[in-house]
């Protein structure tokens, strides 16, 4: 902000207008910087959430797939080693326990997989979406501040041009008076 130095009322008015514009421009610049900072943070949050979603998905896959695979292996082994090829009977004894355990593992695998990996991964993806929306909002605010700033610059130019015209007219008038004295 500048001090008003002119004694001419028109120029003083122009200086006042320019000072006000400068203040508004400063506010817009602050808004712009804040919005850009917010957008950057939201975007970082989104990226982090997406990586976490990927990690949870992998963990869930290991748990679910591992349990299913283990259950399948237990079933195959219990039938392979725990039954007699000449008789149609299910695995008995220890192999029976292995079979039941395998079946239980297979049945539980999907639910456990969702609990450990699927649900947290979905949560993370929802967080990423939210952060994306926040980044988009901040971007809109930044755009708006930038446009306002540009309008202010145009207004400042116009004010200066008007003041210049007035000063020039006044000077010409003065010279004309001197010439005619």
């Amino acid at each position: 902000m500048n001090d008003i130095v002119s004694s001419d009322p028109t120029v003083q008015l122009a200086e006042l207008m320019l000072n006000a514009d400068e203040l508004r421009a400063k506010c817009d610049q602050d808004d712009l910087r804040a919005a850009q900072q917010e957008r950057r943070q939201a975007l970082e949050q989104e990226v982090r959430a997406l990586h976490e979603a990927a990690d949870h998905m992998r963990t869930g896959a290991w748990i679910e797939g591992g349990m299913t695979a283990l259950g399948g292996v237990a079933t195959a082994m219990s039938y392979g080693f725990g039954t007699d090829a000449t008789k149609v009977t299910g695995p008995t004894g220890d192999w029976g326990v292995v079979l039941k355990s395998g079946e239980a593992l297979e049945k539980m695998s999907t639910q456990v997989g969702i609990l450990v990996g699927g649900a947290p991964s979905q949560d993370d993806q929802a967080d990423a979406k939210q952060a994306e929306a926040e980044a988009s909002d901040a971007q809109t605010r930044a755009e708006s501040a930038r446009q306002h700033l540009e309008r202010l610059h145009t207004e400042q130019d116009r004010t200066i041009a008007s003041a210049e015209n007035i000063i020039e007219s006044e000077a010409q008038g003065t010279w004309a008076l001197i010439a005619n004295v």
């Binding site: 896959a61 399948g72 010439a179």
Partner: protein
């Protein structure tokens, strides 16, 4: 390209108005207004040179980031496709193949026991129905046909069970069916792990693309700021020129007025 979009007037104004030698001459000028304009031009040239370098650097960065984004998107797409393949394999092994093995094992058990395994008949029908719903629908077969086939299989199984000599073969087949069912289930589980690993890779690649996108936006912003500096510099220079021109014009008008006044007086 952003640099190309820069108005030529903005880019060339300082050089076009005052060259280096002209600048030195102007600074040595006895006219204070001209010397002031020359000073302002010199300061402007420094500002714009820096801004121009920044614009060029940011343009290069934007190009690099665009390429990074493209690569990441491609990686995501490939990982998604591979994940789809393993996902299909997982559902085929853990679903269809395991079910078919189960049906075969049950049918073989019925044949081997000569129909004594009545509960297994129910199991077979249930399995047949499940297959009908699962596989038949996917293959586009008529569900009624699938059901009839599984029922017929059960009947044949009961009749075939009376052939005592073949009991050993059928029980072995039942065992193979059960083992195969377990192996198929395990394979399905393994394929599921691989599918989701690729799914995770696709998500990571998407995150990388987002990161590059964010950096690109930052680079755009910095380039925009540099362009603003260039524009401001051009505007300042234009304003200074106008002011100096006005001063010179006033001076000239003053001289004319004084001469006219002196002429009038004499």
């Amino acid at each position: 390209m952003a640099v190309e979009a820069l108005p030529s007037g903005t880019n060339q104004a300082p050089d076009a108005v005052v060259g280096d030698q002209t600048l030195v001459d102007a600074l040595a000028s006895t006219d204070p207004a001209i010397a002031l304009l020359a000073l302002q031009t010199a300061s402007n040239q420094m500002r714009t040179a820096e801004a121009r370098q920044d614009v060029e650097a940011q343009t290069r960065l934007i190009d690099e980031l665009r390429q990074q984004m493209k690569d990441a998107m491609k990686r995501a797409e490939q990982a998604q496709e591979t994940s789809g393949f393993w996902g299909d394999l997982s559902s085929v092994l853990g679903g269809d193949v395991a079910s078919i093995c189960g049906v075969v094992a049950t049918a073989a058990a019925i044949v081997a026991t000569g129909g004594a395994a009545a509960p297994m008949v129910i199991a077979l029908v249930a399995a047949g129905m499940s297959i009908t719903a699962d596989v038949g629908g996917r293959l586009g077969l008529d569900p009624k046909v699938c059901l009839a086939l599984s029922g017929a299989g059960a009947l044949v199984g009961m009749l075939g069970g009376n052939v005592k000599g073949a009991a050993g073969f059928w029980s072995a087949l039942a065992k193979v069916g059960n083992v195969s069912q377990g192996v198929a289930g395990a394979g399905g589980g393994g394929a599921k792990i691989v599918a989701d690993q690729y799914q995770g890779d696709a998500l990571d690649a998407r995150a990388d693309a987002k990161h590059a996108e964010g950096q690109q936006a930052d680079a755009w912003m910095r380039m925009q700021m540099a362009l603003d500096i260039l524009q401001d510099a051009a505007r300042d220079l234009e304003r200074s020129q106008r002011t100096v021109s006005s001063i010179e014009s006033d001076k000239s008008a003053g001289h004319s007025a004084i001469i006219a006044h002196m002429g009038g007086a004499s």
